[in-house]
Amino acid sequence: MKPFSTIIAHELRLALRGGGDMLTLVLFFVIVGAIVPFAVGPDKALLARIAPGIVWISAFLAMLLGLDRLFHADHEDGTLILLRQSELPLSAIVAAKVMAHWLVTALPLILASPVLAMLLAMDLETFLRTLMSLLLGTPALAAFGAIGAAVTVAIRRGGLIAPILIAPLSIPVLIFGVGTITATQSNAAMLFLAALSLMAVALAPFAAALAISSAED
């Protein structure tokens, strides 16, 4: 277990020393959410109704924006090649990196979501459900994102292609994520969302590791 937790700690340390990246994503998340009311117009009832969708879209876009940092730097400086010679299988390394990625991109968004909830005039119950759906759904976004980032790792400026690749994959996450907040069968949607996340987190490391292995070839 030691190498696994070492990678998580290593990634967290890199992210914290990097400083700006995390804050940029959080600001992006809040700003995207805050801009929508200007486009929709001053209709409080409408805004309250579409607020869950806005929060999810903002979170989705912010997480896409953060994808580039997942494997790209490690590919550029040769770390990925060396990681393949480590004691830990590459898929386990990818799993650790995805977890660390969730901690430094998704968790700050979730922590910042009260700000957005306030700006969008959400009531408390909707907000709590939003919090729940983000907690359950963002691991799936991180996992799908890892696949996209791994497939495009060897491509220059691949950071722009990965979001296009994984956006279709993420549609179910958005459907059930928003469903958890608004749908009449919201508990069922929540279970689906949790199942989706578990499945994505379990399978994505293997797919991403395979993509990374064939990227050098």
Binding site: T6, T79, I81, L82, R84, D217
Partner: protein
């Protein structure tokens, strides 16, 4: 470094082995065998496939035909090789010591401690410095220190002396010699003269350009 055999008897044998990249064959029909305690120097002009051969032996690139195996190695022991390529895999925002400690944990801390390894490669005073401030030669030394913190029998070195000063060349020679003394194998691609104290342990494979 103690002068004793620490690795089991190993032989890296390649038969009718070809490698290349992007569908183009670079090195064709290679057959060689390197036994423990010996060093194979790869020589040849740029673009003749030295780096590709090393990447193939490291398992990063698939061989185009033929096969190679490290005979005598127990597959359950995990990876048997260190690859040291052109890129140093150093994180600029971490200190020199933190960079090395990461690899000691990931590759198994079976060699000397990270601090000792830094002393050996001449970075002992800089262990707390952010690795981003290292010069090209110092970064190279840090990459070489990685070979020392985890014991692995096979070293694949791609231009190990690149960016190093005269003392650095001596350091590489010393490291390789120490590794051979302990029964390790070294395959190194280089344009510089690496003169080892025991010339009979050195084989040379010269790759030629395909016309």
């Amino acid at each position: 470094m103690t002068e004793r055999q620490v690795y089991p008897e190993l032989t890296l044998r390649a038969t009718a082995f070809s490698c290349g990249r992007g569908g183009m064959v670079l090195a064709d029909a290679l057959s060689f065998a390197v036994t423990g305690g010996n060093c194979l120097l790869l020589r040849g002009p740029n673009g003749t496939g030295k780096s590709t051969l090393l990447l193939t032996l490291a398992g990063i690139v698939a061989p185009m035909s033929g096969h190679f195996a490290l005979e005598g190695a127990d597959a359950d022991d995990g990876p048997h090789l260190h690859y040291c390529g052109h890129r140093n895999a150093i994180k600029a925002r971490l200190s020199v010591l933190e960079n090395l400690q990461l690899w000691a944990t990931l590759n198994g801390a079976t060699g000397i401690t990270p601090s000792e390894a830094l002393e050996t490669v001449g970075l002992g005073d800089l262990s707390m410095l952010d690795a981003g401030y290292l010069s090209a030669g110092q970064s190279r030394r840090l990459a070489l220190a990685r070979l020392l913190v985890s014991e692995r029998p096979l070293w694949l070195l791609d231009e190990p002396t690149a960016a190093l000063d005269t003392e650095g060349h001596a350091l590489v020679t010393r490291l390789i010699d120490g590794h051979l003394q302990r029964g390790g194998l070294v395959i190194a691609a280089t344009h510089d003269d690496i003169t080892l104290p025991h010339p009979n342990r050195v084989q040379t494979l010269t790759l030629v350009r395909k016309s």
